[in-house]
């Protein structure tokens, strides 16, 4: 997000920002981030998996 947009959001009234926090939390709970394995999806992670035999 552009810094100007972030600044604009920061200038919103607190009550409006609190409403947005509630929306963000609702979204985070509805669409949780997939659990991360150490290094999963990275070249290093793949190497570790190959070295340790853990997939």
């Amino acid at each position: 997000m552009k810094p100007e947009m972030r600044q604009k959001l920061a200038r919103e009234p607190f009550a409006e920002k609190v409403r947005k926090v509630a929306q963000l939390v609702r979204l985070a709970k509805t669409f949780p981030r997939s659990s991360r394995q150490p290094g999963n999806g990275t070249a290093r992670g793949r190497n570790v998996m190959l070295e340790t035999g853990r997939f």
Binding site: Q7, L9, A10, V18, V21, A22, R26, L27, K29, F31
Partner: protein, 185 residues
């Protein structure tokens, strides 16, 4: 987007609200009302909102899962009157869950202020939230407290406040000097 509006037992459910109709906001006004009642009941001397929600007062909104209320205890003993605070709020319908007291599914942590946080409460900014009088830490104190804690998320919070919040640089410098703190490089 049925998932977003699916009934849930956390956050949006409440004994006074149909569980199929989620609240679209945090019950912050209820939190402030109850905390003001603690002052009126003589259980705490003063209070202010700290933590992530206090930072959000000054910066762009981000997800946070609880509220931190810092209070100046009336009871100067070891417990800082926390058992009495718990008892009072539980009578008012809140319930305890680990280190939080929960209202309408929203966890709130009551923290006894001391040192830097005590000063932060005394110097806090007054504001009105949905008709409820409240106080929030000044941005300078949020930065100083984050510098004193120093976790990764605190460093991110400092960066965010420095770039987005209006604050008094000399006030912050004085605060950092008095409490022997430094901003992360």
């Amino acid at each position: 987007m049925a998932g977003i509006y699916a009934p849930t037992q956390i956050w949006y459910s409440s004994p006074i609200m149909a569980t199929t109709e989620p609240a679209n906001n945090l019950p912050l006004a209820d939190v402030f009302r109850a905390t003001n009642e603690l002052v009126a009941a003589g259980l705490i001397a003063d209070w202010a909102l700290g933590g992530a929600l206090a930072a959000i007062y000054y910066v762009e909104p981000f997800a946070t899962y609880d509220a931190d209320i810092f209070f100046i205890p009336k009871d100067q003993g070891l417990t800082a009157g926390i058992p009495e605070i718990y008892a009072y709020l539980q009578k008012a319908g809140w319930h305890a869950e680990h280190e939080h007291l929960v209202i309408r599914g929203f966890p709130v942590q009551f923290l006894a202020a001391a040192g830097l946080t005590d000063e932060a409460v005394r110097e806090a900014e007054h504001f009105d939230f949905e008709g409820m009088p409240a106080k929030v830490f000044r941005a300078e104190y949020i930065i100083a407290i984050a510098a004193s804690v120093g976790r990764t998320k605190d460093k991110a919070r400092i960066e965010q406040l420095l770039s987005q919040a209006d604050f008094d640089k000399s006030y912050l410098a004085d605060l950092l000097q008095r409490y022997k703190l430094a901003l992360p490089t």
